[in-house]
């Protein structure tokens, strides 16, 4: 996973900071952070990103709509959707939109790293 570039998309500054803290020392590179979907789309069109961590509840464009857009933009991009909501319906919508994994908040550092490792090494991402 060393050197893989991560994008964190969450309108909560606190949530983004918590994820950054979790990833510190893991060998992963935080390439960028975005507080909304439009910012995330712009970043993904300008930079090379390996994996996006996307929150569901965001203003204007939801994380599920963003996941659909990002997965159409690049089949090489891994996407982990995160949310405080854990209903089966939401998990299924996220997966249908193109998410490779789903984590309900709050999650531990270990769970996040396990999910990232699973997504980046699963072979689902088209090179």
């Amino acid at each position: 996973m060393d050197g893989k570039r991560i994008l964190i998309v969450d309108d909560s500054d606190f949530s983004r900071k918590t994820i950054v803290d979790y990833l510190e020392g893991s060998g992963l590179k935080i390439a960028a952070e975005a507080s909304n979907a439009n910012e995330a789309i712009r970043i993904c069109s300008e930079k090379s990103i390996d994996l996006a961590i996307v929150d569901v509840v965001m203003p204007e464009i939801s994380g599920i709509e963003l996941t659909e857009t990002l997965s159409k933009m690049s089949s090489k991009l891994g996407i982990i959707v995160i949310s405080s909501l854990g209903q089966e319906n939401i998990v299924m919508r996220a997966i249908s939109a193109g998410a490779h994994d789903f984590l309900q908040k709050p999650f531990t550092k270990e769970l996040l790293l396990e999910s990232i490792n699973k997504v980046l090494t699963s072979g689902e991402l088209v090179e």
Partner: protein, 163 residues
């Protein structure tokens, strides 16, 4: 459907009793009421989450800390988001009622604004079979406790007498 919600004794358990993401912050729920009361304290931070889906309404989350854009208010917003997310997830699991929260709105004003928010919600829900829940607790920051109140108002579009 609304009657079945009112009938359940486990309403107080829908909101998690404790949430901890980092060593510094912890949210604890201490008591529950199946009704709501007006918030009268000054200098509170309010974060308001719309509730959408099979339940429609709002959750008002108050914190007795008013410093704008501070780590405390930002982290409390995320903790409230998590508490309500789990509330709605458990509502789906136990009652098969699907609802979501939307992006929050904030207010750092005093009691006058909260009274307006409160009365506005009460008026908006007149004529509906409503769920009105109020949770009291504390938000611990480095072991220092701040009082919190979480009020949930929602209905499923069924008018009184037609649920």
């Amino acid at each position: 459907m609304i009657e079945s919600i009112h009938a359940v004794s486990e309403l107080n358990e829908l909101l998690p009793q404790s949430i901890q993401m980092t060593k510094k912050f912890r949210l604890e729920i201490e008591s529950f009421e199946n009704c709501i009361s007006e918030i009268s304290h000054e200098n509170k931070f309010l974060v308001k989450f719309p509730i959408e889906g099979e339940l429609k309404g709002v959750a008002l989350c108050y914190l007795d800390h008013s410093e704008q854009e501070s780590e405390i208010t930002q982290s409390f917003t995320e903790y409230a988001n998590i508490a309500l997310g789990h509330f709605l997830t458990r509502m789906d699991q136990s009652r098969h009622i699907m609802a979501e929260i939307a992006a929050p709105f904030f207010s750092y004003s005093g009691a006058r604004n909260y009274k307006y928010e409160f009365l506005n919600e009460i008026n908006r829900f007149k004529g509906f079979n409503c769920i009105k829940l109020q949770y009291h607790g504390k938000y611990l920051v480095d072991s220092k406790g701040h009082k919190i109140i979480i009020q949930i108002f929602c209905h499923n579009n069924h008018q009184i007498g037609h649920a």
